[in-house]
């Protein structure tokens, strides 16, 4: 069964020649079978030498005893590993020149989507690193930055790439002075009043003049109703506690970003089931050991942890290395994989489509030439929505195609 490497390469080459014709016609129920690799599904224990069937951009079947249907295109990946497309839950990719609307400290109505640069070289770099889905949003220079967008890193049609045009609010606590928190509370009260006003207006069958529209408050209302998520850029433990208290008071859906000190109050966070997006770990930022070990503490306390790159703080392509670092500092391998796949998908509520290799989900797959978390391991292929988006063996050709 084993073929030599040249054979594989030749095969892939032929495949790619055929592919452009094959894919648009995926309506014809063309099936792609990835065979022989060790598959880390993120949802269940790893399957050695498994088969993944892909149809219409979705995963049709995954398992070790899956029969490959007749006529399926088979890619032999003997000796490789497959992981789900990685998800970066917080980054500024494609938007970091337009990150902060500093003049307007409270601007929940700003939308990252409106400033997104899809021609950025970084998208391709991210893809090469195995990142297929990102949440990219406004910066943390302001108290309320605005709304982020959840998007795939590759796709023929930019609009199709968007998973979620989120209305969630990004907020930042930089703890400059004590009036920070009261001003945020004030804003929430205003939003409640705003909501009340409109409800009364709606209830009175729209008699009289409608209340004045306010985009900022309108963006906050769904957050307070618990429909949208509030993402909080926060570093210090006391600020996190304050927001946990605010959550108790207002009952919104909260996620912490960065959360350097979350491990110090792990139990308090776990008690309230707040997911935590923790520090970028790749080797650029000299995060002290205590904090790195804190990830394990958080996980053990029962907090749902995701890792992020905060691109451009750490390059998005290094997300996999982040997971490797988490493993180095004590997180079990499977858990670490979840932290860059399923956990961010769940916390961003896109887990019905991405985050794991499961039947029915988008076929976002990363094929690697070795143990997935080792730094020396390279990404061989990346599939996004069942399409081969990157192949290392034909790197030049793919680069050309993008232009």
């Amino acid at each position: 069964m084993r073929k030599n490497r040249n054979g594989v390469l030749l095969f892939i080459f032929i495949l790619i020649l055929i592919f452009p014709e094959l894919l648009p016609s995926s309506e014809e129920q063309e099936i792609l079978a990835l065979k022989g690799a060790k598959v880390h599904t993120a949802a269940s224990p790893p399957i050695p030498s498994a088969v993944v069937l892909i149809r219409e951009g979705k995963i049709l079947e995954v398992g070790s005893k899956v029969a490959i249907p007749q006529g399926a295109t088979i890619i032999d990946l003997e000796g490789k590993e497959i992981i789900p497309g990685l998800i970066d839950e917080h980054s500024h990719i494609g938007s970091y020149f337009d990150v902060n609307e500093f003049t307007q400290p409270l601007g929940p109505e700003n939308r990252a989507l409106d400033a997104l640069n899809l021609d950025d070289e970084d998208w391709y770099e991210a893809l090469k690193g195995g990142v297929t889905t990102v949440v990219t949003g406004p910066g943390s220079g302001e108290r309320m930055g605005g709304q982020s967008v959840t998007i795939k890193t590759w796709g023929k049609d930019p609009l199709q790439r968007i998973l979620k045009e989120s209305r969630e609010a990004k907020m930042a606590v930089n703890a400059r002075d004590l009036s920070h928190i009261p001003s945020i509370r004030k804003m929430f009260y205003k939003a409640l009043e705003y909501k009340d006003k409109w409800e009364k207006y709606e209830a009175s069958e729209k008699k009289g003049a409608p209340p004045e529209k306010d985009l900022a408050l309108e963006a906050l209302v769904p957050v307070l109703e618990g429909k949208e998520k509030l993402r909080l850029h926060v570093h210090f433990a006391n600020d996190m506690l304050t927001f946990l208290r605010l959550k108790d008071e207002f009952g919104f859906d909260l996620t912490f970003i960065h959360s350097s000190e979350a491990y110090k109050i792990a139990r308090e966070i776990a008690k309230r089931k707040v997911p935590v997006i923790t520090l970028p770990l790749a080797t650029r930022i000299p995060v002290c050991d205590e904090m790195l070990l804190g990830i394990k503490e958080l996980f053990e306390a029962g907090v749902k942890v995701s890792l992020h790159t905060d691109h451009p703080v750490v390059h998005q392509k290094l997300l996999r290395l982040n997971a490797g670092m988490a493993i180095r500092y004590g997180v079990p391998e499977e858990e670490a994989l979840k932290m860059v796949t399923l956990n961010p998908a769940q916390s961003s509520k896109i887990n019905s489509r991405v985050g794991s290799i499961e039947k029915g989900k988008d076929a976002d797959l990363v094929v690697l030439n070795g143990v997935w978390y080792q730094p020396r391991t390279r990404v061989e292929m990346v599939f996004v929505d069942g399409t081969l988006a990157y192949d290392r063996a034909n790197e030049e050709k793919f680069k050309e195609e993008r232009k």
Partner: protein
């Protein structure tokens, strides 16, 4: 029972520390014995970095130096034995460019673009945390936990001529022993960072032209200074008595050392164009050159190999040492080649890998050096053989820094700086178990993190 348990825990946690301490005090207390003390590290896989690897070999240490290394080394009876069965033994890692141990405000003189008289050694701070912290010189476990035993530190990553760098150890028994080489090089920058900062005050330089003009002007002045000094020294007798004193100028003396080839220049340059400028200036004034960062060095690999100019590369995960993680100058992407290191090595350029570590606010000190092995592993994915990758952070670095007579490999006669790892060095799950500097076990992971 509970009570007992706690004492035990406390005991456990302090045990390695107190052992190190006891050992330390023991060593200090018996200064005389220290020179003749024998220690044998036995049974490990020794990657000497100077030839073939030795399976189940022995490293015999006498005092501060390595006495012998090999498979069949006779262990004297009086020698203490350290069992390294199943472990890997490597020379201490050398970070050939970092800002470790320097507080950010000490790094640059923002008022002057050219300060060759500044010496980083004045700012090196190996005393534990400010005001608080540990006894004695350098007990920063964080950098030791990565197996880093020597570092090159330099001033002024944002100045044209920052000043004089130094090669120091990360631990020593006394302050003087800390210094391996000082000054080790004159640190300069050609590129955007050297001008960006200055731009705020609209001072020279605001262009690359301005940068090289500044370097050239100062070197010309130094030539003049050397000439005058020579004149003054040549005078004799009566004439010498009468003539005015020749005033010493530390600034010019630093540049003169460069011109006399006593120290090399280390020029940080990202673009191939900047490297070309550096080569041009070096040719004009005839000094020894080392290229730092060298993102585009692969384009000039033949020239570099021919002239024997070494390159200190930035970390492969974030090679833009002059900008952020993602360079704000888009052109850098065109320059970037993940196979840079591999191409340079194939062409025969002496290359080392450095962390260019910097402090990051309250998150931590500039201890990125502790992850150099991970960087090396990452590089191993891009066409550099494992052996070469390890050399880049040990012996190659030592050669470039000019301290290979003392550190960089496990050879008889060299300093006993070595590390013991619990697995293959290029695996992300491998940890440094022990660090020996000058034959002293200064770091032990035992009982630490798991």
């Amino acid at each position: 029972m509970k009570n007992f348990r706690r004492t035990k825990l406390v005991f456990n946690s302090f045990l390695p520390l107190s052992l190190t301490l006891v050992f330390f005090i023991f060593c200090l207390g018996r200064e005389g014995d220290r020179e003749t003390q024998l220690l044998a590290i036995k049974g490990g896989t020794i990657l000497t970095m100077a030839g073939e690897r030795i399976e189940e070999g022995v490293v015999l240490i006498k005092g501060k130096k390595i006495l012998a290394v090999g498979k069949e080394v006779e262990i004297p009876e009086e020698a203490a034995i350290f069992d390294a069965q199943g472990k890997h033994v490597l020379p201490g890692i050398i970070d050939s460019m970092t800002y470790y141990g320097i507080r950010p405000f000490d790094l640059n003189d923002m008022e002057n673009p050219v300060t060759p008289e500044n010496r980083i050694i004045f700012a090196y701070y190996p005393f534990g945390e400010f005001m608080r912290g540990k006894e004695g010189i350098n007990r920063d476990r964080e950098i030791l936990s990565g197996g880093v035993t020597s570092v090159y530190i330099a001033p002024g990553d944002r100045q044209v001529i920052g000043g004089q760098g130094a090669v120091v150890k990360t631990w020593a028994e006394s302050y003087d022993e800390l210094i391996l080489r000082e000054p080790a090089a004159l640190d300069m920058t050609i590129g955007d960072t050297a001008k960006y900062e200055m731009k705020r005050e609209a001072k020279t330089p605001v262009t690359r032209m301005g940068i090289s003009t500044l370097i050239r002007t100062n070197l010309l002045q130094a030539q003049e200074y050397l000439r005058k000094k020579k004149e003054a020294e040549e005078k004799e007798g009566e004439e010498k008595e009468k003539s005015p004193l020749f005033p010493r100028d530390p600034r010019m003396e630093a540049l003169a050392a460069l011109l006399n080839q006593e120290i090399p220049a280390r020029i940080e340059a990202d673009f191939a164009d900047d490297i070309r400028t550096a080569l041009r200036i070096a040719d004009e004034f005839g000094f020894k050159l080392i290229i730092d960062s060298g993102l585009g060095a692969y384009k000039l690999k033949e020239t570099l190999a021919e002239k024997g100019i070494p390159v200190v590369l930035g970390p492969p995960t974030h090679p833009f040492v002059q900008g952020g993680e993602v360079s704000m100058t888009r052109e850098l992407y065109r320059e970037m080649n993940e196979y840079n290191a591999s191409e340079l090595i194939k062409a025969g350029v002496l290359t080392s890998l450095a962390s260019f570590g910097f402090g990051f606010g309250r998150f931590g000190y500039a201890t990125q050096g502790r992850w150099l092995l991970i960087e090396a592993a990452y590089l191993a994915g891009f066409g550099v053989p494992d052996e070469e990758v390890l050399k880049m952070i040990t012996i190659n670095a030592a050669q470039i820094l000019g301290v290979d007579d003392r550190v960089g490999s496990i050879e008889a006669g060299k300093d006993a700086d070595l590390i013991i790892l619990d697995g293959y060095p290029l695996d992300i799950k491998t940890w440094v178990d022990e660090v020996f500097i000058d034959g002293v076990n200064v770091y032990s992971r035992k009982g630490g993190r798991k």
